[in-house]
């Protein structure tokens, strides 16, 4: 008789169909064929995890057709099953997996759109903190380089492809002109959770660098210099008004002034 851990490993591999099935003599199922019943578990695992992926990647499903998506999802599940039971975290590797599919090699925008959708899923699972307004700091001396804290759900994604255009075009049921949407054109996207929804915005290089630096806690001075490096005409005031206006600022901290003599 197999030790329980060995038995469970054998069963798990049988359910994922990565190894020959568990020996039928180890199982019972009344008068039914136990190996046929094992397929119930195989189907449950595959179909439920496929449903998880379809919920996270709805635009990708539409881009490649549902039947093809289900086929690719089955392969992904078999090779990369979840490693934890928190399924909100399952699918992070799916965009990268799509890049390995030969059939999709001439459609890189599929994997890139999937990458955007995964980023949206991450943002939707992140906290949405109360935002601050500019007027709250009217009478506060913030020093030369305050630390601006942004919403934890803020995600910044850059792609060589027009991923936001593709994603936006698939939010309605209208017929899609795929040829015009699939353009090799760099897009920098900021997205964050606002209540039940996610908000997305296109950024230029300077604003992307600015928000990226702030998101990583590098302070306003560093963020501004990064933005100016990309665009000498970068408008700091407009950028700050935009951040506050979008509800992205959750705190402004005065950094201690470095000691000087």
């Amino acid at each position: 008789m197999l030790p329980l851990e060995h038995l469970q490993t054998t069963m798990a591999r049988s359910v994922l169909a990565v190894e020959p099935l568990i020996a039928a003599k180890m199982l019972t199922a009344g008068t039914a064929d136990p190996l046929a019943r094992l397929r119930v578990y195989q189907n449950n695992t595959r179909s439920s995890l496929t449903a998880v992926l379809m919920a996270v990647f709805p635009v990708t499903v539409r881009l490649v057709d549902e039947r093809f998506f289900r086929f690719v999802a089955s392969e992904f599940i078999r090779r990369h099953p979840p490693v934890e039971s928190r399924l909100a975290r399952y699918g992070a590797g799916f965009p990268r997996f799509l890049k390995t599919i030969d059939t999709l090699s001439d459609m890189p925008i599929v994997a890139e759109t999937a990458r955007l959708e995964w980023t949206i899923a991450e943002a939707l699972d992140a906290a949405c903190l109360p935002s601050r307004t500019l007027s709250e700091y009217d009478s506060t001396n913030l020093g030369p380089s305050p630390d601006i804290v942004l919403q934890p759900s803020l995600r910044l994604i850059v792609s060589h492809w027009s991923i936001l255009s593709v994603w936006t075009a698939h939010q309605q049921e209208a017929a899609i002109d795929q040829q015009s949407a699939w353009i090799r054109r760099p897009q920098r996207v900021a997205l964050w959770r606002a209540g039940d929804n996610v908000r997305l915005a296109l950024l230029d290089r300077a604003n992307f660098a600015f928000q990226h630096s702030l998101k990583h806690g590098l302070g306003l001075e560093h963020a501004t210099s990064r933005a100016l490096a990309h665009d000498p005409s970068f408008d700091l005031v407009s950028a700050l008004v935009r951040l506050f206006g979008d509800g992205l600022v959750t705190d402004v901290r005065v950094c201690p002034r470095p000691f000087s003599n």
């Binding site: 329980l4 199982l27 019972t28 009344g30 909100a88 992140a126 906290a127």
Partner: protein, 344 residues
């Protein structure tokens, strides 16, 4: 910051599983649902659902039902996942916490399904150790749910009910009796569903689950699939009736996970569970009263209720009892209502 919630005890009436399509309506309508149950794993992040549940928790008693702890895993429970469950419990302060007698993690993979154990001494020692770890971490008793199964292991040395009874004995855990699971497993593995329920330690059963199942025909094999995708079928209501008759009222959950209907359908199913439970208790008390009445009379009489058609509905049964009691019981609506409340 975790808000401090008022302690709300889950009553021995029906509640519903909170599903995402219903959250907005629950927040706006605040319908009369006895209590709510959520899947722990859906509330381990910081999404909008978490904020909504915090608001609902102010109104409704809450049960947290884990589906991913894999209590039957030979390698033990995932420490990180257990800590996440602890945080969910600290955040929402539920009255009940439950998990399954099953495993879903092995070989580094989470299968997103609940697989059966080989019921033997080795598995019992492992599950008991895992349950104790969970109870120690959460600092509370947890309820363990019986499984819906499609296969069993030939080398099992006991059945699932015996395993659960021994688990209760060793760990002090409670039980969650899923009546639909009993029906599904009993059909698929060919055992007596009522005998399964009768052999569980009844005092340990702190909650009941009800749900629908699908029927699949695979060649000559009719296999029932626990899909939680339809109304509670009559056969499961009948088994529920058997359980309540034996156990008395218990917190009862209507589960619905696939093809989720409008909220009112779930609320209607919950109302039906309440009526059925109240009816059983009403009839039981009526029977006791009849017996007491018969015992007090010097000469045996034929109880009028014996000649009346029986009904399972408490209100109708009350009318029937009032009619047959004749002049000794007032037939005014107020008396009937009084009698019903006294019985229920």
């Amino acid at each position: 910051m975790t808000p401090a919630f008022q302690s709300l005890t889950i009553p021995a009436i029906a509640g519903i599983g909170l599903r995402s399509p219903h959250i907005k309506e629950m927040l706006s309508r605040r319908p009369s649902a006895g209590w709510l149950e959520v899947h722990a794993e859906n509330y381990m992040g910081d999404g909008a659902g978490v904020e909504a549940l915090e608001r609902l928790r102010e109104t409704y008693p809450l049960s947290v039902h884990g589906v991913g702890l894999s209590l039957g895993s030979a390698r033990g429970v995932d420490h990180d996942h257990l800590q996440r469950l602890r945080k969910v419990c600290e955040r929402f302060q539920p009255d009940l916490v439950s998990e399954h007698l099953a495993w879903s993690v092995a070989d580094g993979a989470y299968l997103n399904d609940l697989l059966p154990l080989r019921y033997d001494e080795e598995a019992l020692a492992i599950v008991a150790r895992n349950v104790e770890t969970v109870q120690d971490t959460l600092k509370r008793r947890v309820l363990i749910e019986n499984l819906s199964a499609y296969i069993a292991f030939a080398d099992s040395s006991m059945n699932e009910a015996e395993f659960l009874a021994e688990l209760v004995e060793r760990t002090g855990c409670g039980l969650l009796l899923d009546v639909n699971n009993v029906y599904v497993s009993a059909h698929n593995l060919q055992y007596d569903a009522e005998a399964f329920i009768d052999s569980l330690p009844s005092d340990s059963i702190g909650e009941i689950h009800l749900a629908g199942h699908a029927t699949n025909q695979v060649g000559a094999d009719t296999v029932l699939i626990d899909d939680h995708g339809s109304r509670v079928p009559p056969v499961v209501w009948t088994l529920y009736q058997h359980a309540i008759s034996r156990l008395g009222p218990r917190p009862t959950l209507i589960e619905w996970d696939t093809d989720v209907p409008v909220l009112d359908v779930l609320l209607g199913e919950a109302m039906w569970a309440d009526m059925l439970s109240a009816s059983i208790m009403f009839n039981r008390k009526q029977a006791v009263r009849r017996n007491q009445s018969a015992g007090h009379r010097s000469t045996p009489i034929r109880l009028p209720v014996d000649n009346e058609p029986t009904t399972s509905m408490p209100v109708l049964a009350a009318f029937a009892a009032a009619r047959s009691a004749g002049p000794s019981v007032s037939a005014t609506p107020a008396s009937i209502e009084e009698q019903y409340h006294a019985a229920a």
